[in-house]
C-alpha cells in the first residue's frame, strides 16, 4: 500500500485511533504522547493532501471500496484541504502547550481522558470537513460535539458545568435541525452523497421541501457556528473551559461549522438557489452587522479577560458571515481567509491568557481567570505574554501589517464591488469597537501601576510561550505575505463559484 493514496482517510483515522489507545493505557503521559503524535500525523497528512490537491485537483476516496453514492466518499478540494490544515495545525500547536496547563487545571487521574476527548474532538472536526456524505457529517459532528461538551465541563469553575449543559442543549437542537434538513434533501433526491445530491437537486430545485431543507440547515449550522443571536452558548463555554480547550475551540469548532455552511450553500444548493430564491443574504447581512456591533460592544464592558475575547469571537464570526452574504468571489475569499486569520489570532490570545492565568495563580491553587484589577502593570512582569496579546489584538482590529487587515481589506473590496459604500463605513466603525476592547487590556497592563502584592509574578515558562508565539508570528506573517493565505482562499472561492481555477 502506498500511504499517499490513503491520506484522506488516515487524516481522520489516526487521531480517532489515538483516543481509545489513550483510554486503554490509562496513563496521562502516554496518552499525551499518543494523542499529540496523532495530531501531528494528522497535520502531516493535511500538508500531504494540500500538495496533492494543488497538483492533481479534487481527490475522491472510496471507503470500503464502495463507489459513491452507495458507499461513503471522502472528498478533498481546495477549501477542504485549507480547513484541514487550519484544524490539524491548531491541534498540533495546542496539544504540546496543554501539557503544562492541564497539570494545574485538571486532576491528575483525568489527564488521559482529557487527551482522549481532545483526540476525538479533533477527529470529529476533521471528519466533518473531509467527508463527502451528508449523514456522515452528522455522525462526526456528534463525535466532536460530545467530546467538546466533556472538555468544557472539565473546567474547574462550576459554571463550566452549566456552560457545557447549555451548549449540549443548543448544540443538539442544532444537530437535530441539520438532520431534519438532510432528511428533506434525502427524501427529495434519494441520495446522501453530497456530489450526487448536488446533481440530482437541480431537478427539484424549487420545490418546497428543498427550501425548507435550506432553512433548517441554515438555522442548525448557525447554532453551531454561534451566529448572532444564536450565540448564547459561546461566552460561558469559552470562559470556563480549560485554557487549552478554549484556544482550540475558538480556532476550529466555529470555523468548521462555517465550512459546512459554505459547503451546503455553494456546493449543494448552488448560489442561484441560495441567493435568489430566499432573502437569506439579506438576513445574513443584518445578523452579521448585529454581531459585529452588539457583540463587540458587549465585549468592551467585560471584566473577565476570557469573556471579553469570547464576545469578540462572536463579533469576528460576524465578519465571516458578512463575506458569505455577498455571494461574490471577493466576499467569499474574505470569509475564507478570515477563518484562518481570526483562528490563529484567537488561538494565540487564548493560549497567552492561559499562560497569564497560570502566572497569576500561586502553585497549588486552582487557576481562576483574573479580573482586570489584577492585571495592573502586568506588562512589566510578563512582557512577552502581554505584547503577544496586543499583537494578536491588533489583528482582531485589522491594523495594517497584521493578518486581520487582509481579511477586512477583502471584505471592503467586496462591499465596494457591489457599490455598498455604507458597508465600508460599517466595517471601519465596528473595528473601532475592537480598538476599544483591546485598549482596555493595553491600558491596564501597560499604564496602570502594579499593585505591591505582585512581586512573585513571573513570566510564563518557555513551554507555554513558544507555541503561543508561533501563532503570534503567524499572525504577522500572514499580514505581510499573503501568497499562501489569499492564494488558497481565492482559489477555493473560485472553485466554489465555478469561475475558473
Amino acid at each position: 500500500m502506498s500511504i499517499s493514496a490513503h491520506l484522506p482517510v488516515l487524516q481522520v483515522v489516526l487521531p480517532l485511533i489515538s483516543a481509545p489507545l489513550a483510554v486503554l493505557l490509562r496513563h496521562g503521559g502516554f496518552a499525551a504522547a499518543i494523542v499529540t503524535t496523532g495530531a501531528w500525523a494528522a497535520f502531516a497528512a493535511a500538508i500531504g493532501l494540500w500538495l496533492q490537491v494543488a497538483e492533481s485537483g479534487t481527490l475522491s476516496y472510496h471507503i470500503g471500496n464502495w463507489a459513491p453514492p452507495w458507499g461513503i466518499e471522502y472528498r478533498v478540494d481546495r477549501l477542504t484541504s485549507f480547513v484541514l490544515l487550519l484544524v490539524s495545525g491548531t491541534a498540533a500547536i495546542v496539544l504540546p502547550w496543554s501539557r503544562a496547563s492541564i497539570e494545574r487545571e485538571i486532576p491528575q487521574e483525568l489527564h488521559y481522558l482529557y487527551y482522549a476527548m481532545f483526540g476525538l474532538c479533533l477527529a470529529g472536526l476533521l471528519g466533518i470537513t473531509i467527508t463527502g456524505d451528508a449523514f456522515n457529517i452528522f455522525v462526526f459532528l456528534e463525535i466532536s460535539s460530545l467530546a467538546t461538551y466533556v472538555l468544557i465541563a472539565m473546567g474547574r469553575d462550576r459554571r463550566a458545568l452549566t456552560a457545557a449543559y447549555r451548549y449540549l442543549i443548543m448544540g443538539s437542537i442544532g444537530a437535530t435541525f441539520i438532520v431534519i434538513g438532510i432528511g428533506f434533501l434525502y427524501l427529495m433526491t434519494g441520495t446522501l452523497n453530497l456530489a450526487d445530491m448536488a446533481v440530482r437537486l437541480r431537478e427539484v430545485e424549487n420545490t418546497r421541501p428543498v427550501l425548507v431543507a435550506l432553512a433548517f440547515l441554515t438555522v442548525g449550522i448557525s447554532l453551531k457556528l454561534a451566529l448572532f443571536p444564536l450565540h448564547q452558548w459561546l461566552p460561558n463555554a469559552y470562559t470556563y473551559a480549560p485554557s487549552a480547550v478554549t484556544a482550540f475551540l475558538a480556532a476550529t469548532a466555529t470555523k468548521v461549522s462555517v465550512y459546512v455552511l459554505i459547503r451546503f450553500y455553494y456546493s449543494i444548493f448552488g448560489e442561484s438557489l441560495v441567493f435568489e430564491q430566499l432573502p437569506l443574504p439579506q438576513i445574513m447581512l443584518v445578523l452579521s452587522l448585529l454581531a459585529m456591533f452588539i457583540a463587540s460592544f458587549i465585549a468592551i464592558f467585560q471584566d473577565n479577560l476570557k469573556l471579553l475575547f469570547a464576545y469578540s469571537s462572536i463579533g469576528q464570526i460576524g465578519y465571516i458571515t458578512l463575506g458569505l452574504s455577498f455571494g461574490s468571489v471577493t466576499g467569499l475569499t474574505g470569509s475564507i481567509v478570515h477563518l484562518l486569520n481570526h483562528g490563529i489570532a484567537k488561538a494565540a490570545i487564548f493560549l497567552l491568557i492561559g499562560g497569564l492565568v497560570l502566572g497569576l495563580t500561586r502553585p497549588g491553587t486552582t487557576p481562576v481567570v483574573p479580573g482586570f484589577d489584577r492585571l495592573a502593570g502586568l506588562s512589566k512582569k510578563m512582557p512577552l505574554t502581554c505584547i503577544g496579546i496586543v499583537i494578536a489584538g491588533l489583528s482582531l482590529i485589522g491594523v495594517p501589517g497584521t493578518a486581520g487587515f487582509i481579511s477586512k481589506w477583502y471584505l471592503i473590496l467586496a462591499a465596494l464591488e457591489q457599490g455598498q459604500f455604507w458597508l465600508v463605513g460599517a466595517i471601519v466603525l465596528s473595528s473601532l469597537l475592537a480598538v476599544a476592547y483591546v485598549w482596555r487590556f493595553v491600558e491596564v497592563a501597560y499604564f496602570s501601576p502594579p499593585p505591591a502584592s505582585s512581586t512573585d509574578i513571573k513570566e510564563a515558562p518557555f513551554s507555554l510561550l513558544a507555541p503561543a508565539w508561533l501563532l503570534v508570528i503567524a499572525t504577522l506573517w500572514f499580514g505581510l505575505d499573503t501568497s499562501f493565505s489569499i492564494g488558497a482562499a481565492s482559489d477555493a472561492a473560485r472553485q466554489l463559484l465555478k469561475t475558473g481555477s
Binding site: 461513503i72 487521574e109 476525538l120 456528534e142 434519494g190 441520495t191 440530482r200
Partner: protein, 176 residues
Amino acid sequence: MHVLLILMMLAVLAIARTRNLFSVIVLSGIYSFLMATVFVALDAVDVAMTEAAVGAGVSTVLLLGALHLCRSDEAKPTHRPWIPLSLSTATAAMLIYGALGLPGFADPDAPIHRHVVPRYLQNEIDIPNVVTAVLASFRGFDTLGETAVVFTAGAGIIALLRRRKKNGKEGNPDAG
C-alpha cells in the same frame, strides 16, 4: 397506525403538562415503546428492536438513575412561555410547509426507492438482512463513527462522574 400516533401525541402532551418527574420518565418510556411499535408497522424491525431496547430500556434506566441522584420535581414555571411558543409555532409552520411537498406516502416512484437503494437489495455480498449489510459494509464508516460516539459518551461520563481521589464506600446498588 393512526391509533399509535394519536397515543404518542397524547403521551407527549402528558409529558409536557406533568411536573412529577417520575411520571414523566414513565411516560417517556411508554412513548418510546409506542414509537417502537410504529416502527414494526413500518417494516423497520431492526430499528424497532433498537428503539425498544434503547428508548424504553436504557434511557428509562438512565433517567431514573439520574432522578435518584438529583431528587427533584419540576418547579412551577415563573414566566409566560411566549418566546418558546412563537419559536415552536414558526418551526411547525416551516415543517408543515415542507412536508406537504414531499413525495406521497408509500409512493414506489419516490426518489428514495428509485435511486441508490436498488443495488442494496441485490444482495451482492450474500447477507440476507440488508440493514446489516448496509450498516456494516456499504456504510461501515458511519457505524465506526457511531461506535466512536458511544465511546465518547462512555469515556466522557467516566471523566464527569469519577470520584475525585476520596473514594467513598461503594455498595448499595439501588440507583438503577
